[in-house]
Amino acid sequence: MKRFIPIALAALAFSALAADAGLPKLAKKATYKIGFAQTETNNPWRLALTASMQGEAKKRGWKLVYTNGNGSAAKQVSDVDSLIAQKVDAIFLSPREEKPLAPAVLKAKKAGIPVFVIDRNVDQSIAKAGRDYVTFIGSDFILEGQRAADWLIKATKGTAKIIELEGSLGSSPANDRKTGFDERIKGTPGLEIVASQTGNFTRDEGRQVMEALLQAHPDVTAVYAHNDEMALGAITALEAAGKVPGKDVIIVSIDGEKDALQAIIDGKLGATVECNPRFGPKAMTAMVDYANGKKIAIKLTNDDRFFDISNAKASLASSY
């Protein structure tokens, strides 16, 4: 026990030192070996993100080590471990959930590998941008929710009974898109959310949940889905119930994928807020800037477009 105390103290001092130490440095090199820890690839948005990262790395002549968490935070944590073991120069992490992936960021920091968190953030009480990882690059999910709400308020003239299809529980887009939307419609007394359930960002669950909710709330007039895939599932559910999506029930969602733009052109989907998946150029430029010793802001926000009937057709070719 006595011998244990000094060791424990030393360990404590060491870990305090490690926590205090600044961000890991990144050497200036002609070419890099980088790691990209993807969350899952079960929707076109994720596929576009992966393609953008791989394309940009190829363009720069860098080596990219790609891992796929297959929708499991636990798998993604071990993916990050394996990237650390492979001694990549930097890690681009798109964390599945905020809390489980935060310790992985600290682990990479300890191993001297700078981390760039993209798309979804990690829990700021555990790992902080600018202290434990370089920066968070992503869209403003709260703003996305607000923009969806603004459109819906206009399209329904301020009166609607809304079903909200939430994303994966605990993920930052689900949390923030809900917050942004719910807060914004509070100012309009005619808007009421009659039900809000998770469809896990997938088409199949979005459809099944919508089918059940539609039975319990047949008087619903609007749907707000946290992503396009669930909105497409909801359209299937509405059609199966003999309702006309776009007429009987107005739908707004987020992401801006190709199938969603087609649904807008077909008059089924009302609008979708773009959540730009093409992170590659911005993320790797930030990394080069960091290697060059430039100061990087702790948050880099993507510019997102907005798609409705006025521009869906023109944007279809450039969508993913």
Partner: protein, 318 residues
């Protein structure tokens, strides 16, 4: 003793049915808009794939086995089908025809592989089918690179979206399969063999039952039905996702069989009970959704029901 056994018989025969009736009555009173045709439609279309897989599972469990690979086999079949009907080198009609046949046969072949491991090497079914539970989804992810495929092909999608005579096709298919398997159990030699093996495998073997062949067949059938269910799922969604198709299906199917009154130790079977069991699980999920209870809680409730089902089986045996 006589009194006890008659009470057991009643519970076994009508327990699941009573639970289903109680659920329906509860919803009639407390869930708004429950009593209409659309509710029936929604619940039957959603439960169809569970029932189709669970009827195969019923046969497997009747022989005293279990099949954990069903969900992964669904994913394999769901991954293969779009590769066929989206294949531009095939004539469209042939592509669709093959998309109905090949994926189902492939799943059936994997089912036979399960049976092969179990009969040839006497591996416990739970371990033997665990192999494909893990590897099967991996195979589906490998053939699709783990990527989602979306499509629109109404000829193929008839299996999940068609409504002949106004009735959803997959629901008609579900009833047909339940009736078929129930008939097989009740009226064929094969059905007798299945029950004999589940009751006492050694005795069955001594009395000339072709144990290995029957077991191969039940796992093969379970694979075929899983493949079929995989096609239905992707047809409804116009998309195939190797990570999602059939996820947790093995649990739903086993739960449906157990709740439906088929003994998990084998030798006793109730195919219609499986249908009732699946409906109970479906209706619980529906009720919790309609009442605004979060998904996570629904999972816990489902687990509690499985525990109750298994417990009631223990009571019956002792």
């Amino acid at each position: 003793m006589a009194r006890a056994s008659s009470r057991e018989g009643f519970g076994q025969k009508y327990g699941a049915l009573l639970a289903l009736a109680a659920l329906i009555v509860f919803n009639m009173i407390f869930t708004r808009y429950f009593l209409n045709l659309q509710t029936l439609y929604v619940n039957f279309t959603q439960v169809a794939t569970i029932v189709i897989v669970a009827t195969g599972m019923t046969l497997v469990i009747a022989t005293g086995g279990i099949d954990l690979s069903v969900g992964s086999l669904m994913a394999i079949s769901g991954a293969l089908a779009p590769m066929l009907f989206l294949n531009e080198s095939l004539p469209p009609i042939l592509g669709v025809a093959l998309a109905f046949v090949l994926p189902v046969l492939t799943a059936g072949a994997f089912g036979l592989f399960n049976g092969f491991l179990i009969t040839r090497y006497a591996i416990q079914p739970i371990i033997a089918t665990l192999v494909l539970f893990i590897a099967g989804r991996g195979i589906a992810q490998v053939v699709t690179n783990g990527n989602l495929t979306t499509f629109s092909n109404m000829t193929f999608q008839f299996i999940g979206r068609g409504r002949p005579l106004g009735l959803p096709f997959q629901v008609l298919l579900m009833f047909a399969l339940v009736a078929l398997i129930a008939w097989v159990i009740r009226a064929t030699i094969f059905g007798r063999y299945v029950l004999a093996i589940g009751g006492n495998e050694a005795a069955a073997k001594l009395s000339g039952v072709p144990v290995s062949r029957v077991k191969l067949a039940v796992y093969g059938i379970s694979g075929l039905l899983s493949g079929l269910a995989g096609l239905i799922v992707i047809a409804i969604n116009s998309s195939s996702d190797a990570n999602q198709v059939g996820l947790n299906m093995e649990l739903d199917a086993i739960a449906a069989v157990a709740v439906g009154g088929t003994a998990l130790t084998g030798g006793k079977v109730n195919v219609f009970g499986t249908l009732i069991g699946a409906l109970i699980i479906q209706l619980i999920r529906y009720t919790l959704l309609a009442k605004g209870v979060p998904d996570a809680v629904a999972l816990i409730v489902k687990a509690v029901i499985i525990i109750l089902a298994v417990y009631s089986q223990r009571v019956r045996q002792s």
